[in-house]
Symmetry: C2
């Protein structure tokens, strides 16, 4: 059998309680601590997770909840990046805080939703990180009120013990617009994200503000985030005004769509028309020309979410956070 705390105690010549104290940072004499550490090393002792949870009341588990209809799931690289960020913050300090494990809770149908209700038990997880930034997601309301939640994205209905980690969309939108202004564009257009996406609206608003009178209101169209959205929007814009010399897009995918249309129309990018994307997805660096775009620190959002949860559980005061975006200048603008 694996060594228990009792074995360690015996070997170190102290009581079980003392071993527990060095494990959890209680008051112990230097001498005892050393002998316990030696005993731990010698026995290869590792705390029994369930026993610790049962006695201590902490599970050492965070739940990462992704509620997304089948299909959408993981098409979007965002989830993977968020998970990476979270995972990077889960390693425990040597003998202070134990490692936290991440319980992945996927909700794609009713059955999984009911299972999630059972899994999201305060005795089974210490906290929840919500990865799906859905508006009106019923999941939030059904989580046990005593469970702390960090939302990666926006929070529409307030909830106790709930914090959100978001991206500064307005700042990102403004940065792109300002870059265009510096380049001296005369006739800019905007391809905004879908009207249902709050972040998209905030970006557009900031772009409008920044561009001011230079922007012809007719040259703002909304489209879905996919490349196809960019294609359609760009075609429409070109009809409305063939003289457009710059386009701010709501996503990199829209930007490639717009790029394609522009190229097909015989225009050159960025000479005839400058294009700015949004997201700084991986492929943005390899389009031709490479996309100037706005970087969103998605992985960092996940990391901050995990740290926020940890801080709260440590008893610290925590608050909502907004992470900065940054302009990445490549060749398209």
């Amino acid at each position: 059998m694996k060594p228990t705390i009792e074995d360690v105690a015996a070997l170190a010549g102290v009581s079980r309680g003392t071993v527990s104290r060095v494990l959890n940072g209680g008051p112990v004499s230097r001498a005892s601590a050393e002998r316990v550490h030696a005993a731990i090393a010698e026995t290869g002792y590792r705390a029994h997770h369930s026993a610790r949870s049962l006695a201590g009341g902490r599970s050492g588990v965070y739940a990462a909840v992704i509620s997304e209809p089948y299909g959408e799931l993981f098409e979007d690289p965002t989830f993977g990046l968020l998970l990476r960020g979270i995972s990077s913050q889960l390693t425990g300090a040597v003998h202070t805080s134990p490692d936290v494990s991440l319980s992945l809770v996927l909700i794609t149908d009713e059955e999984e939703r009911r299972r999630a209700d059972r899994l999201l038990d305060p005795r089974r997880v210490d906290g929840v990180i919500l990865l799906s930034p859905h508006v009106h997601d019923p999941i939030l309301g059904s989580i046990d009120p005593s469970l702390p939640v960090v939302v990666c994205g926006e929070l529409d209905e307030p909830r106790d013990l709930t914090w959100s980690v978001t991206i500064d969309d307005a700042h990102g939108g403004a940065a792109g617009a300002r870059h265009l202004l510096q380049r001296g564009v005369r006739c800019p257009a905007i391809i905004g994200g879908p009207l249902a996406a709050r972040g998209a609206l905030r970006r557009v608003h900031a772009q409008q503000t920044e561009l001011g009178d230079l922007l012809d209101p007719a040259l703002l169209v909304h489209a879905n985030y996919a490349a196809s959205g960019g294609v359609e929007a760009m075609r429409e814009l070109l009809v409305r005004d063939p003289g457009i010399d710059a386009v701010l897009c709501g996503s990199d995918r829209q930007a490639v769509g717009a790029l394609q249309v522009l190229l097909e129309s015989g225009r050159s990018v960025p000479d005839d028309v400058a294009i700015v994307g949004f997201d700084d997805q991986r492929f943005a660096a390899t389009t031709s020309p490479p996309l100037t775009t706005i970087n969103q620190p998605i992985t960092e959002v996940g990391a901050v979410a995990a740290r926020t949860l940890a801080a709260h559980l440590r008893g610290e005061e925590v608050s909502d956070q907004t992470l900065p975006t940054s302009l990445v200048i490549r060749s398209s603008a």
Copy 2:
């Protein structure tokens, strides 16, 4: 406080042991069972996960391990699909088997690798599902020998208590070739996956066998799975023989690359040249023309992996599994 098994027992007028028995499927009278169920419903009782693990020796957790260098992670939709498949099999039967939760273990650097060693403790997880089908992955060797493992993909070094769930690559390769044969192609070519990928090799081998003498050995080139690989390979093939009238690709991404080259060269698909992809990724249905390709049941691989683990833990005899691929005929061939 949440109700405990003791509360349920009291309300049902039975002993704690009896409640435990109805929860775990022991011998109980019909009458007791009913009263216990009623009491559970009334109290809203839910078993304490850690307590159960500690006493029962089963954690009710499977670990999904993805060991992949930073960057590759989740670029590939495969992981998401596998996780979906696994997740779909985790719901427990009402009062027979409890829900299993999925612990996501991401390994992208040394720190995470060490943490994984600690997380993959037989007392903390009941089994492991390995999602990264890496050859020579050191992780397999470092997993506690008492922990059962199911690998989604191929297994190179045998290990006790380890099973693999794979795709029938040979069958898929043959199916594509046979389809071409039926269409009466005269001059087929093959763009194989990278030489380092075993599955790719197996597919190519099956294709060669099926095509027989019809295949000019010079018309087989290997390339990476990306679209760029398809582009380069197709260009090379066209140089070697401009008369090619069909191409079997190793991936859908390669197929779009090849498609692009073919279209640019003024050929029409499928009239001048037929193209068959592999994978049946989401976008394969929306290229123009839509791709005829080989479907791989990735989600099903995950599901089978989870079921295999569950069956083994139930004490059943389990074995390696190979899942069938299927030809999806669209317009490109």
